[in-house]
Protein backbone atom coordinates (compact mmCIF):
# COMPACT_ATOMS: atom_id res chain seq x y z
CA UNK A 1 0.00 0.00 0.00
CA UNK A 2 2.80 2.37 0.94
CA UNK A 3 4.55 1.68 -2.34
CA UNK A 4 1.35 2.44 -4.25
CA UNK A 5 0.99 5.74 -2.40
CA UNK A 6 4.60 6.70 -3.10
CA UNK A 7 4.19 5.99 -6.79
CA UNK A 8 1.01 8.02 -6.88
CA UNK A 9 2.65 11.03 -5.26
CA UNK A 10 5.62 10.71 -7.59
CA UNK A 11 3.36 10.56 -10.60
CA UNK A 12 1.46 13.60 -9.42
CA UNK A 13 4.69 15.56 -9.03
CA UNK A 14 5.86 14.51 -12.47
CA UNK A 15 2.53 15.48 -14.00
CA UNK A 16 2.64 18.89 -12.31
CA UNK A 17 6.17 19.43 -13.56
CA UNK A 18 5.11 18.38 -17.06
CA UNK A 19 2.14 20.75 -16.97
CA UNK A 20 4.29 23.72 -15.96
CA UNK A 21 6.89 22.90 -18.63
CA UNK A 22 4.32 22.75 -21.38
CA UNK A 23 2.54 25.93 -20.25
CA UNK A 24 5.57 28.08 -21.01
CA UNK A 25 7.00 30.93 -18.99
CA UNK A 26 4.21 32.51 -16.90
CA UNK A 27 5.99 35.90 -17.00
CA UNK A 28 5.36 36.31 -20.73
CA UNK A 29 2.53 38.65 -21.75
CA UNK A 30 -0.05 37.83 -24.43
CA UNK A 31 1.65 40.34 -26.75
CA UNK A 32 4.93 38.55 -26.20
CA UNK A 33 3.36 35.18 -26.94
CA UNK A 34 1.92 36.51 -30.17
CA UNK A 35 5.22 38.03 -31.30
CA UNK A 36 7.11 34.84 -30.45
CA UNK A 37 4.56 32.86 -32.47
CA UNK A 38 5.06 35.14 -35.48
CA UNK A 39 8.85 34.81 -35.14
CA UNK A 40 8.86 31.02 -35.06
CA UNK A 41 5.93 29.87 -37.17
CA UNK A 42 4.47 33.00 -38.71
CA UNK A 43 5.25 35.90 -41.00
CA UNK A 44 8.39 36.99 -39.12
CA UNK A 45 10.16 33.60 -39.28
CA UNK A 46 12.32 34.67 -42.24
CA UNK A 47 13.44 37.82 -40.47
CA UNK A 48 14.13 35.83 -37.30
CA UNK A 49 16.33 33.39 -39.25
CA UNK A 50 18.19 36.26 -40.91
CA UNK A 51 18.79 37.86 -37.51
CA UNK A 52 20.26 34.62 -36.11
CA UNK A 53 22.41 34.07 -39.20
CA UNK A 54 23.74 37.62 -38.96
CA UNK A 55 25.10 36.91 -35.47
CA UNK A 56 26.97 33.84 -36.74
CA UNK A 57 28.20 35.59 -39.89
CA UNK A 58 29.65 38.43 -37.85
CA UNK A 59 31.69 36.09 -35.64
CA UNK A 60 33.77 33.35 -37.36
CA UNK A 61 34.62 31.75 -34.01
CA UNK A 62 30.89 31.23 -33.45
CA UNK A 63 29.68 30.58 -36.97
CA UNK A 64 32.63 28.85 -38.60
CA UNK A 65 32.44 28.50 -42.35
CA UNK A 66 28.96 26.96 -42.70
CA UNK A 67 27.58 29.33 -45.31
CA UNK A 68 24.02 27.98 -45.46
Amino acid sequence: MRQTGDVSIGEELLEERRRRRRAGDPRLSEAGKELFRRMTTGDLAGEFQAALDAVSDADPLLGGSDDD
Partner: protein, 139 residues
Protein backbone atom coordinates in the same frame (compact mmCIF):
# COMPACT_ATOMS: atom_id res chain seq x y z
CA UNK B 1 16.63 15.71 -22.03
CA UNK B 2 15.87 17.29 -25.43
CA UNK B 3 18.43 19.54 -27.14
CA UNK B 4 16.62 22.19 -29.19
CA UNK B 5 17.44 25.17 -31.42
CA UNK B 6 16.40 28.79 -30.97
CA UNK B 7 13.03 28.33 -32.71
CA UNK B 8 11.88 25.54 -30.45
CA UNK B 9 13.28 27.30 -27.38
CA UNK B 10 11.18 30.37 -28.14
CA UNK B 11 8.12 28.24 -28.88
CA UNK B 12 8.49 26.35 -25.60
CA UNK B 13 8.96 29.59 -23.65
CA UNK B 14 5.73 30.94 -25.09
CA UNK B 15 3.77 27.78 -24.28
CA UNK B 16 3.50 26.72 -27.92
CA UNK B 17 4.66 23.15 -27.37
CA UNK B 18 4.95 21.33 -30.72
CA UNK B 19 3.00 18.10 -30.82
CA UNK B 20 5.98 16.24 -32.29
CA UNK B 21 8.31 17.21 -29.45
CA UNK B 22 8.84 14.46 -26.84
CA UNK B 23 7.62 15.21 -23.34
CA UNK B 24 10.94 15.80 -21.59
CA UNK B 25 13.16 18.53 -20.16
CA UNK B 26 14.19 21.01 -22.85
CA UNK B 27 17.74 22.39 -23.08
CA UNK B 28 19.34 25.01 -25.30
CA UNK B 29 23.09 25.07 -26.08
CA UNK B 30 24.88 28.16 -24.78
CA UNK B 31 25.93 29.29 -28.27
CA UNK B 32 22.29 29.32 -29.38
CA UNK B 33 21.24 31.24 -26.30
CA UNK B 34 24.05 33.67 -27.20
CA UNK B 35 22.53 34.23 -30.64
CA UNK B 36 19.16 35.03 -29.07
CA UNK B 37 20.78 37.37 -26.55
CA UNK B 38 22.66 39.19 -29.29
CA UNK B 39 19.36 40.04 -30.92
CA UNK B 40 17.95 41.21 -27.59
CA UNK B 41 20.90 43.44 -26.70
CA UNK B 42 22.11 44.39 -30.18
CA UNK B 43 19.03 44.78 -32.40
CA UNK B 44 19.71 44.52 -36.10
CA UNK B 45 17.06 47.00 -37.18
CA UNK B 46 13.99 46.13 -39.17
CA UNK B 47 10.49 45.19 -38.20
CA UNK B 48 11.38 42.38 -35.80
CA UNK B 49 13.75 44.54 -33.75
CA UNK B 50 11.13 47.25 -33.46
CA UNK B 51 8.50 44.80 -32.31
CA UNK B 52 10.84 43.22 -29.76
CA UNK B 53 11.78 46.66 -28.42
CA UNK B 54 8.11 47.52 -27.97
CA UNK B 55 7.19 44.44 -25.98
CA UNK B 56 5.55 45.27 -22.66
CA UNK B 57 7.07 44.87 -19.22
CA UNK B 58 9.89 42.41 -18.92
CA UNK B 59 8.91 40.08 -21.74
CA UNK B 60 12.49 39.96 -23.00
CA UNK B 61 13.55 38.80 -19.53
CA UNK B 62 11.91 35.52 -20.47
CA UNK B 63 14.62 35.09 -23.12
CA UNK B 64 17.43 36.57 -21.05
CA UNK B 65 16.77 34.39 -18.02
CA UNK B 66 14.63 31.41 -19.07
CA UNK B 67 12.42 29.93 -16.39
CA UNK B 68 14.30 26.79 -15.26
CA UNK B 69 11.13 24.71 -15.12
CA UNK B 70 10.50 25.51 -18.79
CA UNK B 71 13.88 25.78 -20.51
CA UNK B 72 17.46 25.27 -19.33
CA UNK B 73 20.64 26.58 -20.93
CA UNK B 74 23.26 23.84 -21.11
CA UNK B 75 26.48 24.25 -19.17
CA UNK B 76 29.11 24.24 -21.95
CA UNK B 77 32.04 23.13 -19.81
CA UNK B 78 31.37 19.37 -19.89
CA UNK B 79 30.90 19.63 -23.68
CA UNK B 80 34.15 21.44 -24.48
CA UNK B 81 36.38 18.43 -25.10
CA UNK B 82 33.85 16.67 -27.35
CA UNK B 83 33.13 19.93 -29.17
CA UNK B 84 36.83 20.50 -29.81
CA UNK B 85 37.19 16.95 -31.14
CA UNK B 86 34.21 17.48 -33.45
CA UNK B 87 35.59 20.79 -34.70
CA UNK B 88 38.94 19.16 -35.43
CA UNK B 89 37.32 16.22 -37.20
CA UNK B 90 34.94 18.14 -39.43
CA UNK B 91 36.57 21.56 -39.74
CA UNK B 92 34.78 24.83 -40.30
CA UNK B 93 32.14 24.12 -37.69
CA UNK B 94 32.56 27.09 -35.40
CA UNK B 95 31.45 26.97 -31.77
CA UNK B 96 27.73 27.00 -32.67
CA UNK B 97 27.80 23.77 -34.63
CA UNK B 98 30.49 22.04 -32.56
CA UNK B 99 28.68 22.70 -29.28
CA UNK B 100 25.31 21.70 -30.72
CA UNK B 101 26.72 18.41 -32.01
CA UNK B 102 28.52 17.73 -28.73
CA UNK B 103 25.24 18.35 -26.91
CA UNK B 104 23.54 15.90 -29.25
CA UNK B 105 26.17 13.25 -28.54
CA UNK B 106 25.83 13.82 -24.78
CA UNK B 107 22.03 13.77 -24.75
CA UNK B 108 20.68 10.78 -26.59
CA UNK B 109 22.22 11.30 -30.04
CA UNK B 110 19.34 13.45 -31.20
CA UNK B 111 18.77 17.13 -31.94
CA UNK B 112 15.53 19.03 -32.48
CA UNK B 113 15.12 22.04 -34.80
CA UNK B 114 12.16 24.29 -35.49
CA UNK B 115 12.93 24.79 -39.18
CA UNK B 116 15.21 23.16 -41.78
CA UNK B 117 16.70 26.61 -42.48
CA UNK B 118 18.39 26.52 -39.07
CA UNK B 119 20.17 23.19 -39.57
CA UNK B 120 22.83 23.88 -42.22
CA UNK B 121 24.83 21.54 -44.40
CA UNK B 122 27.88 21.17 -42.14
CA UNK B 123 25.77 20.20 -39.14
CA UNK B 124 23.63 17.86 -41.21
CA UNK B 125 26.64 16.01 -42.63
CA UNK B 126 28.50 15.83 -39.30
CA UNK B 127 25.39 14.66 -37.43
CA UNK B 128 24.95 11.83 -39.91
CA UNK B 129 28.53 10.68 -39.41
CA UNK B 130 28.22 10.97 -35.63
CA UNK B 131 25.00 8.96 -35.53
CA UNK B 132 22.91 11.90 -34.34
CA UNK B 133 19.29 11.99 -35.49
CA UNK B 134 18.28 15.49 -36.59
CA UNK B 135 14.56 16.06 -36.12
CA UNK B 136 12.86 19.05 -37.71
CA UNK B 137 9.45 19.91 -36.26
CA UNK B 138 6.95 20.63 -38.99
CA UNK B 139 3.91 21.69 -37.04
Amino acid sequence: MIVVDEYLAVRVLSGDWPGELPDDDVVLPTSRHWRLLQRVHNPSGGQLSQLLANLPGDDLGVVRWPHPEVLSVLDPRPLLDEAAAIAARFGGTGWLIAETLAAGVAHGHRLWFGTPDNVGRVLERAASELGIAVHVVTG
